[in-house]
Subunit: 347 residues, 3 copies
């Protein structure tokens, strides 16, 4: 992809200072920028890198005053960071699959795709599935019966969406994620064996949800496992059957949430957290990485740590003493001895 400085300036509503015809092919970090790339200065503390940079173009603030001479073309904008994101979004769009449905895809005639949908080779779309406008489904994806996907979503290779699940608009699902596998439900038969409980619900991802690679979201036993609008889930996360997660909650990698738990809105959950089943977490709760949540959290905005988790500050205080436990134990023994002698003395 070749970009002229003047084209970039038009895109981000900036002004060119230098050669408007210089061409770049990729973005670059300010500390590693090569000729033919466009870099950016969003944070003043990295300014010194700019004077050594070999980038052909730099995106800078309209107020930026260089302290030394600069050889590259500058594009000045009101706010560097949003302009950069705008640029990168266009840059990323070149990595989509080709327009249209690849002849190597396996589409059931009873699936309904908007004409603007892209589908890569090897993808299976089963009977009754419906896919909305401009959604991109890469190759090697499985879309089961009656699955509904909204508009402008991107489904990466190897994603499996089991039958009856619903995915909203503007969603991104990364490679090898699984949506709608059976919940882990078995009835003990009284002799230590287990009978499978049929899992006939589904999974609903609302709009603007992003799901990381190899994350698994199980279908509900009945009803729906639901991930609300704007949630962002990292890689290798486990969401069990009938879990519900409120809007705009973010969850870091390798966290697991057990069955039927309800998480509030705007929560921040760290990596490798475990949350037991059948509890409620209030809105805006923050949970430290590796914590284990064993009971409902009622207080909105509270912070938690430990396994089982206790209030964040309490855990840090207790853990500070935990580190001193051998010393503390010695002091206790020494007290016992002293008291013993004191008593003997007073006898």
């Amino acid at each position: 992809m070749e970009w002229k400085a003047s084209e970039i300036a038009a895109l981000v509503k900036g002004t060119v200072e230098g050669d408007p015809n210089v061409i770049v092919t990729e973005p670059s970090k300010i500390e590693e920028s090569k000729p033919g790339s466009i870099t950016f200065l969003a944070n003043a503390k990295y300014e010194h890198y700019l004077y050594e940079s070999q980038a052909s173009i730099a995106l800078v603030s309209k107020d930026f005053l260089p302290e030394k001479a600069l050889s590259m073309t500058l594009i000045r904008v009101d706010q560097v960071y949003p302009a950069l994101q705008q640029l990168l979004e266009v840059y990323q769009q070149q990595h989509t699959v080709p327009d249209g449905v690849d002849p190597g895809a396996h589409l059931h005639p009873g699936a309904v795709l908007d004409p603007s949908v892209s589908v890569g080779p090897g993808t299976i779309i089963q009977e009754g599935a419906q896919i909305g406008a401009r959604t991109i489904i890469h190759g090697q994806v499985f879309i089961g019966r009656q699955v509904m996907i909204g508009e402008d979503s991107i489904i990466y290779p190897g994603v499996r969406v089991y039958h009856d699940c619903k995915i909203g608009s503007g969603c991104i699902i990364h490679a090898n994620a699984v949506i709608g596998s059976d919940g882990f439900g078995f009835a003990p038969d009284g002799q230590g064996k287990y009978q499978k409980i049929q899992q006939i619900g589904n999974v609903i991802l609302e709009d603007q949800v992003e799901i990381g690679a190899n994350t698994v979201i199980d279908r509900a036993t009945m009803g729906s496992t639901r991930i609300a609008t704007g949630c962002k889930l990292d890689n290798l996360i486990q969401i069990a059957h009938n879990v519900e997660i409120g809007p705009h909650t973010v969850i870091a990698a390798q966290t697991g949430i057990a069955g039927s738990t309800k998480i509030g809105a705007y929560c921040q959950i760290g990596g490798q957290v475990g949350i037991v089943g059948h509890i409620r977490i209030a809105d805006r709760v923050r949970i430290q990485a590796q914590s284990g949540i064993a009971a409902s959290i009622e207080e909105p905005g509270s912070a938690w740590y430990g396994s089982p988790a206790i209030p964040y500050r309490d855990y840090l205080k207790s853990y500070a003493i935990f580190r001193k436990l051998p010393e503390l134990f010695k002091r206790l023994i020494s007290l016992e001895n002293e008291l013993q002698s004191t008593e003997e003395l007073s006898e």
Copy 2:
């Protein structure tokens, strides 16, 4: 799928009370049931929902006496829960892949499939593989050389079974699970580098085993990694080379078991548990979520918690004091001070 009340009653050996010709298309939870669905009342505490329910049919006990008028058709059965499961099993069977082998599958002529086997598009079945009667292999599955799969098993899209592994009858393997990848075995070369140790064993899943989505079971270095009859493994679990798990043990999501460890029968292992290699766990042992098991557990039926894990009750007691450590430390200091003054007094 359309069902008449009279057909359902025949299936579950129940009696119809109301219109035997009313038609439903899906099951529903009692608190969310819509017209055209069949709901159920298995637990008396949910009875109040039934009076507001819009379901067209309700499955109820033969002894159920409604306190208010009910508009829907009732089907009365001896035991509601088993009848419901029977119904749901039939309901689920509509979500299988089409009968027969899809022309888009890649079958080696040297693979042996029972004529009743179903295979979806994009699936690879390599030389020497053998697949038993009525087994369903969805699309996009990989079955390596000499793999043997029994009867009535279901393999979901994206499952990879490496060469020489054996899967029993009545097994279910969920999407993107990996069976038989190389064990993590490397010999240090004395200078800090590692030489791969060839992993030439296999994985054996006995009968009625269920494996969750994105779970990985590594092949043995030599011999077999073995998961015995009736085991149920949740999603994103790691089973290392040469592990053996006894019959009817259940393991929750994201747990990892290191190499050569032997787990007993009827154990219950929580989520995110870690178990070190080369140890033995007795039968019927229960391990709390997030625990770390660092040594063999000899006592059958014992319960464990913590990292490294200690007996469950002991962990809870110690953790209760852990929470009070800052206070305990203050009390220790205050004792030291008091004793100091007492000694000064007595001097």
Copy 3:
């Protein structure tokens, strides 16, 4: 695969004692060896198994003196273990995909493959990708645009390599691993919602890197997520954007490393470890399974344990007291009572 004793002896530079024409088809463990297999004696403590073994050939040391009569053919070598590995490598090579590019693969005409490359059915190789000599790409793999892969690497079914990533020579990537998915980067919009930060960097795996099944390595926001030469990563591991791992570091299953952290060379990291973002870990550091690393580790070769982790021995000492906390607390209370009485006495 049929092997004569004389052929095996030629391969491992050993001498035959017994019938040089006896044929074996597979290796076996000494305690389970069957007729038609070749077993080995590398460790004297297993010698007693050899006298009961039914193996047709045994690989033994040139100095081995049997205490009892042995019926099988012996192959004597200088060092048993390296000879065994050499044998197993040849044995394993029969499990590769067929030579050449399967007609069921989806290759872009703008991809450049060495003529010796093997590609299985259903694999997608996009525009601009380059694959080096003798590399084996199984079926159902996704290789995105501009991906570069070196020589003699093996990519198992279901691996997804996103655009622009680089994989070295001699690498092995196991089934369903994901290389180059988007880093987990979102900018809060000030009202609790999140805006995606475009992830335009890549992932670089250097040479001789092995990646386990279902492991995920995210692409950098800009620049590269880098795994250096000789690193071995187990299954279900999470490596976040812009992480860098030094040469010959090994990481056990289910560990997660957060964004921009730099790990040294020759480190040993246990399973289910969590490491926070933006820190540095020195060379040769060892981290116990399930630990949480919350701050940089400066001291090379140090060992760590706990969450948050402290020096390994300190954790064990503190945890030993943790187990005694209920007793310790009782002794504290009893001291308080005694001191109380002592004071009362002295009043």
